[in-house]
Amino acid sequence: DVKVTQSSRYLVKRTGEKVFLECVQDMDHENMFWYRQDPGLGLRLIYFSYDVKMKEKGDIPEGYSVSREKKERFSLILESASTNQTSMYLCASRVMGGGFPEAFFGQGTRLTVV
């Protein structure tokens, strides 16, 4: 079975802190994604990566950066956390390829910025 693991299920951080959210997948997938989920807004794409050291901005990249130094790990970085970044963060991965291969999600991280 594909396994996508996010480092924390719940996280509380202070305004202004630098925050790292980690995601690891064990299936050698090329593509990895970070989404945030907010009530009434659904899932919105922050960043995605299609290979090591390769990244593209999603729909809402402002205030975030990412790092992909190894194929299995995709990190989301909040450079200076703010209260409007309080949200549910979801990581996903899938193999690269035409025909839109199936994507798999981690368990999610509920981040609260106080």
């Binding site: 659904g42 593209e56 999603g58 979801l90 996903a92 035409g98 199936e102 994507a103 798999f104 999610g108």
Partner: protein, 111 residues
Amino acid sequence: GIQVEQSPPDLILQEGANSTLRCNFSDSVNNLQWFHQNPWGQLINLFYIPSGTKQNGRLSATTVATERYSLLYISSSQTTDSGVYFCAVPGGAGANSKLTFGKGITLSVRP
């Protein structure tokens, strides 16, 4: 970009009832996924279905790609079916296309 609409936004059922959840999309797609978000927030894969019909226990899904919609059927609903149901489609045609989600359908099954 492609638009995905799900309906109804909210659904309340009595245990044992059947339901149909709908996903419409604005452009042709080469695949579609249905997910169930459990109470702890994790998205669980239900179906990966570009066209046709698939069944898994009490759940089944049908995608009619030419008419740009997909349906998720839940029969004999149980309280554990409660949660949010999402459909997602490719945001583009390329091999690295992102997933585009609908806003979800919140299902509550009452005992």
